[in-house]
Amino acid sequence: MMRSLEIIWVLFLKDLRLEWRRRETIASICVFGILVVFLLDFAFAPAGEESLRLMPGVLWIAFAFAGILGFNHSFAAERENACLEGLRLAPIDPGLIYLAKLLANFLFLAVAEAAIVFAASLWYNFSFLPAFKWFVVIVAFGTLGYVAVGVMFGAVASNTRMREVMLPVLQFPVIVPIFIGAIEATTSALKGDAPGQFASWVRLLIAFSVIFVVLSFLLFEYVLEE
């Protein structure tokens, strides 16, 4: 068990180190996410109260699109210099590679989400502070489920032509329950509802996150298989 955690940590640090050298992924997903918020601001031009109604949808769409960029890049990078072969040959449980990638992508998307939330708060004149604690919990679990599916299907899609298109086609139907749960819970939390009102949505998020992380962990060795 300790050895597994060590392996995950080493692989996670490897991904962080790679990212730190060129900072391509984080930069591009932050910028793309902010651009989506920007475009939606022009599309809807929300005034006052409308900001509250639109905010959850705007945020989660921005998160979703930013995430897609990140997942595509995550496995594309491994194809250079036969890194994927190196990972396959390592005497470790392939599921651990998945968990390490999950953690790395979660971190990158979390950074992008912070940038997106900041931009949205600024441009829509909306304050997240009143419901901040629950907002963070909801976004964390929603992101976890989303990244769990994204990393898995990113690996599958990296074996296809037109992988930039294949990833959303594969991923979006599967994450619909997570998306709906996240948006409903976010709406409720930002409106200032008591936690009891959105607890069932949060439970849905947690349940789906667990299901997808476990399933992907078990199936990842087949995706890596030569």
Binding site: F153, A157, V223
Partner: protein, 221 residues
């Protein structure tokens, strides 16, 4: 295969008779409700189809048997048709009864997701760079996609939905008069018979494709 074809045709004709002539009109909906026999039959068939995609995928991952992959793929192809039929008959019924073509309640949303899962499965198979790995990777997609199916089925029991409550194995006050129930089961049986007939055709096609591939390889040696 011919016997199966004749059985399917006969069963469908009996179902057609029962749907339009034998089954009585509904007290509230008149004759519009009759599309329900096609709709529910398609629904059960589409979910069984994805279940077979799941079974084929698990079996393939476990045993790497080509017939497992064939069954998963053929099931997806035929299931896609029945799922499309489901999504067409639903709105056709909904417009006169509810006044709207569609709504995003739990059941309709998850069924549309099921349709998208069929599309995704079929689409991704044609895009793999290395065809040798297509079967294994599609199997992974099929397994993860199956998470939606039981939730879709239970959606009308777990949540309050626009979609009608279950009439078969539903709550205490649900149910159909015997003539309607019989018509429904005969129709569902006919649709399943058709599904399995088309599935077997799909399996034959897959086997023929494999044989041609082998012959080509032998000739080129």
């Amino acid at each position: 295969m011919t016997a199966h074809a004749i059985l399917t045709l006969a069963w469908l004709l009996v179902a057609l008779y029962m749907i339009f002539i034998y089954a009585p009109s509904d007290v509230n909906q008149g004759n519009v409700y009759r599309i329900m026999y096609v709709h529910v039959s398609s629904g059960w068939t589409a979910m069984i189809a994805y279940f077979l995609v799941f079974v084929g995928s698990v079996w393939y991952v476990w045993k790497r048997s080509p017939s497992a992959d064939d069954m998963a793929y053929a099931s997806a192809e035929v299931g896609f048709i029945f799922c499309s039929c489901l999504l067409i008959t639903g709105p056709l019924w909904a417009k006169p009864i509810w006044g709207i073509w569609w709504t995003w309640d739990a059941r309709l949303t998850l069924t549309f997701v099921l349709w998208l899962l069929f599309v995704a499965y079929l689409l991704v198979r044609s895009f793999f760079i290395n065809p040798g790995r297509a079967a294994l990777l599609s199997a992974v997609v099929g397994i993860i996609g199956f998470v939606d199916v039981p939730i879709d089925y239970m959606a009308i029991r777990w949540w309050r939905t626009q979609h009608p409550q279950p009439v078969i194995m539903g709550g205490p006050n649900s149910g159909l008069p015997p003539s309607m129930e019989a018509t429904l089961f005969i129709s569902a049986g006919a649709f399943l018979c058709l599904f399995f007939y088309l599935l077997r055709q799909g399996l034959r096609l897959a086997e023929a494709r494999r044989e041609i591939g082998q012959l080509r390889r032998q000739l080129s040696e």
